[in-house]
Amino acid sequence: MDKYLDARFERVERALASLIDSIAKYNPSEKLGEELVAADRELAAGLQALETHHNNHARIQQLRAETAALDAQTKDIIGALWAMRKEVKNTHTTVYAASGPKYQFTTAELLDYARRISSTTLPPQAAINGAADRAAATAGAAGTSPDADDAARSSQGGQTPTASFGASFNGGSATPTQTQTQTQSQTTVTSTFTELPMNIKPAVNPGDGAVFYPWPVEEQIRGGALSAVDYLSTHGIDPRGYDPEEEEQRKKEEEQARKEAEERARQEREEAERRMREERERMARERERARAEAERRGSVATGFIQAPAKAQFTFLDGLDDDDDDD
């Protein structure tokens, strides 16, 4: 580019010098003047080319800088990625040793279990509504005035909470009273507007005031197998190997056997009675027959009396014989 411009400058200088010479010699030539104009035009064109060149150069420079910057950025990113990958690869997954070992299970098992426990772990909608308030109220009562709560409870139950499980288990009765007072205060405020009267509420919504316990309640514990076992041991029966159902079955069978034996005995007795009656009847009949026989015999005996008459008659032969002898 430099040579290109230098050549043009030289040409302009040369044209100028020759023109000046020609002027100095007082012999100005038109041709020389034209030459200078042409050279000047060339120079102007060259300068324009130089400007374009400079612009291009600047652009190239800018692009190079941009490329370099992007290269650097790419390198940074790749480097960061590499470092991150390395880090990720080197990171050990946290082992919760304290929480115990992990167990394998299948989705079906999990879903089965979820369905099974849903009734005991998922509160009904009625219990969710306002349960938070109730819990807060209970917490407040327990936190702020446990003594008052205690007093109320012992006056209700008539026993101290530690006296027996039954007495200690009247939280169920304590909670409803709290909710009752709470809702009563609510109704006094809003009764003129939208709230139903307290006595109608349960009829409209059976779940009204429902309390959800996420554990077995006292009734369940009292009606369970342990209490059955306890009942047996307090009644002096060793529960080991003792099955009330089997006992029941055994008792039933015994009862059945007893009944059957009784029935059999009754039948035997009846049979015996029948036999005895028959015997008696037979004997009566025999006696009757004997009597009849005797009677008959009696009548036959009178015949016998006549028979001697016959004999006497036959004796007549003898008599006749006698007579014959005579």
């Binding site: 327990a142 936190g143 499980f165 996420p214 554990w215 077995p216 003792y242 159902e245 089997e246």
Partner: protein, 128 residues
């Protein structure tokens, strides 16, 4: 406890052994399942404390033995898994066994348990 729990091995799963000895008509599995779930009731814990069970070394050993409910295959039989396992874990602590006799702690456990019983559900519902 009238049930003999000196056996170190957890009872067999239901249906595994038909000749399982019965106690009042129930298998050891049934009785222990019921007992361990009853432990989820704070008032029952208080009842046990007032009857001085929780200070009995034999009973403490029994509570330790009951930890098998936290593992399969027994885990899936718990119908009140949250409070049951929480209280079973807490009962392993001597401090808790001493303190549960206090009605205040019982009320606190009831309030927290009932709150948690409702809120865990709401939390999962509000999650995106």
């Amino acid at each position: 406890m009238s049930v003999d729990s000196s056996t170190k091995e957890p009872p067999a799963e239901p249906g595994a052994n038909q000749d399982e000895p019965k106690y009042g008509g129930y298998t050891r599995f049934e009785l222990e399942l019921e007992f361990v779930q009853s432990l989820g009731n704070p008032q029952y814990l208080n009842h046990l404390a007032t009857r001085k069970f929780l200070t009995d070394a034999r009973f403490v050993a029994y509570l330790k033995y009951l930890l098998y409910w936290a593992r399969p295959p027994y885990l899936k039989y718990l119908t009140y898994p949250g409070p049951t396992l929480k209280h079973l874990q807490l009962l392993q602590e001597e401090k808790f066994r001493e303190n549960i006799i206090s009605p205040e702690l019982v009320h606190l456990l009831i309030a927290e348990g009932m709150k948690a019983g409702v809120e865990w559900h709401q939390e999962t519902e509000t999650k995106p």
